[in-house]
Amino acid sequence: MKKNLTAWLCLLPAILFLGIFMVYPLVDVLVYSFEEGYNFASQSYFGTGTYNYSYVLRDPYFIQALKNTFIIVIITVPLSTGIALLISLGLSSIKVLRDFYQTVYFLPYVTNTLAVGLVFMVLFKKTPYSDGLVSILIQTFGGKGVDFIDGPYWAKMFVMCFYTIWTVMPFKILILTSALSSVNPMYYKAARVDDTRPFRIFYKITLPMISPMVFYLVITGFIGAFKAYSDEVALFGTDLNAAGMNTIVGYVYDMLYGNSGGYPSYASAAALILFAIVFTITTINLMVSRKTVYYH
């Protein structure tokens, strides 16, 4: 008993902290999402039910945000992981200037999101003075310039995905290069003596050996991409609905604090829908991983 008391005492700060800042808000969000017609000022509501959910699911802004989020997730997670894997493989097979390249690839990670956003503006935004570097490039090669920031939807989505991939890649490269270097080289020697083709070595040996790390990156990648918001703001400003580039988290934020803000019930409902989506995807990921991921 006394032992238990000590244990609880030691756990107390964490329990208090987590309880107040994690558990209580979570429960509160759940409660909010079922309170209909909640009013911030009077702290009162008309009744309980699922109206908030049906409102959110019918809201065209939410549908747009949902669509944007899914496009970003589906494009950026596989691409960023795949490219990061290719770059890591390249990095681990070169010897000269390896540290230099590693530093270069890691730079985006330590650069401020908004600063990177600024650089992307220079590259992509059309202003009265310039068409943006990429548009100018396209024009030099005979194409038609596009305004990537205020132009057509696909152009904006392209910049968005490009930006996301670019910012999440350094971390993935870091993780994957260390995973690759932890594979015992004797396996490669054994494979070489057995005349294994390079692709087969990668597919049959390297990939299974680093699969736990790849899996970790895929899971966190999915979750991170579903939570995308700040990158969008960095590129398209705070009025994401007007730009048509809102995400689910952006929608939640707007419902709470944006111009149309003051609707915690809608925000809560949207947040819980996002939670349900992330939960489902992560569960599927875990189920797939059981068959494909090998743990040492």
Binding site: N184, M186, Y187, K189, A190, A191, R192, V193, D194, D195, T196, R197, R200, K204, I205, P208, M209, Y294, H296
Partner: protein, 366 residues
């Protein structure tokens, strides 16, 4: 397939780049490994024996010299083209693949007209598994097996393609003592059954002695002696080889030869016909001591260790190199050590003389 090494040399640049000296891992190897034999490359750690194996395998390129498999010059050939099977010290079994998949792995790499059907592969896998007696383990993962079983799988994987040469790097060093004994017999059996020329590397002289047809003793990249285990044991070419082979180790005393007689600290221990006067090392195999109350070699008696059939007598002597002399005598022999000393006579056939400067063998006229 006989393996011919012709002036084979491998130098590595020094790790410390400031030092220009290169490390010579293998120095001018020039010998032939006969076809269908089991060869043990023996030497202390760091003597270049693994490098020698890697050179034969092709994982390392020689700095100088040539390697022939039969009449074919394979020096420039990549390892996969040489038709060798290699067993690694840590087995290098792919941990995420089952035993069956591990053994099948080399077969799946075959292409062109060598390509096999699933059926043929399965037959070959079974055949290899049977050879090393692991048929019932085919569906296990490597980490679900003991070290000895993993070792067998590694051998099966190396053998499944029927290589011309089988190379084993410290095949027994990761096994416990009992398993080592069992596995080395197994190794010999597999080698006899397949008739594949087999080269294995070891630092354990007992291992090398017990199963090799021929032993190659190395030191610092230089070949010291090559021959049948018993011949090398009986007739070591220098002090290093004499000390390296045999347990307990050969007992070395400083001594001198005066008038064709060998003296250890004034005590005349045996004759040395045809040997010139001078300082020598007198090396005596443990079984070369005879407890004799009137023997010439008087040693301080430390103790005895009874090991059933034999007894080892532990003693000290001022001229002995090292700390304790170990002599092995039959257990029934009595030792009179009341005054704290023990007297030995030496069997001349177990005494070897070495030059004190060069440590080369000094041969005695028969």
């Amino acid at each position: 397939m006989k393996i011919v090494l012709e002036h084979l040399t491998k130098r590595f640049p020094n790790r410390n780049k400031k030092i220009r000296d290169e490390v010579v891992a293998v120095n001018d190897f020039d010998f032939t490994i006969p076809d269908g034999k089991l060869i043990g490359l023996l030497g202390p750690s760091g003597c270049g024996k693994s490098t020698a194996l890697n050179l034969i395998c092709g994982l390392e390129k020689p700095t100088e010299g040539k390697i022939y498999f039969g009449d074919l010059d394979v020096t420039a050939l990549a390892p996969e083209k040489r038709g060798v099977g290699l067993v690694f010290q840590n087995y290098a079994l792919y941990p995420h693949l089952s035993v069956r998949e591990n053994i099948r792995f080399p077969l799946e790499n075959l292409r062109g007209d060598k390509k096999l059907t699933k059926q043929q592969m399965e037959e070959k896998v079974l055949e290899a598994a049977k050879l090393v007696q692991i048929e019932e383990l085919l569906d296990r993962k490597p980490n679900e097996m003991s070290g000895g079983q993993q070792q067998r799988v590694a051998i099966a994987r190396a053998l499944v393609k029927r290589p011309q040469v089988l190379l084993l790097d410290e095949p027994l060093s990761n096994l416990d003592a009992r398993l080592r004994l069992q596995t080395r017999e197994e190794l010999k059996r597999i080698q006899l059954e397949t008739g594949i020329t087999t080269v294995f590397v070891t630092h354990d002289q007992e291992e090398a002695m017990s199963i090799s047809d021929t032993i190659v003793v190395m030191k610092d990249g230089v070949l010291q002696q090559m021959g049948k285990p018993q011949d090398i044991y009986d007739d070591p070419i220098n002090l290093f080889v004499a000390k390296f082979l045999g347990t307990p180790q050969i007992n070395v005393f400083t001594g001198e030869v005066i008038g064709e007689k060998v003296y250890i600290d004034k005590a005349q221990v045996c004759d040395a016909p045809g040997v010139r006067d001078g300082d020598v090392y007198v090396a005596v195999r443990p079984e070369g001591f005879v407890v004799d109350p009137s023997g010439p070699l008087i040693c301080e008696f430390i103790g005895r260790e009874v090991m059933g059939r034999d007894t080892s007598v532990i003693a000290r002597h001022g001229n002995f190199l090292g700390e304790n002399i170990r002599a092995i005598i039959p257990s029934e022999e009595l030792i009179d050590s009341k005054d704290g000393s023990v007297r030995f006579a030496l069997k001349p056939s177990k005494v070897r003389l070495f030059d004190k400067g060069s440590e080369e063998r000094i041969r005695v006229e028969a």
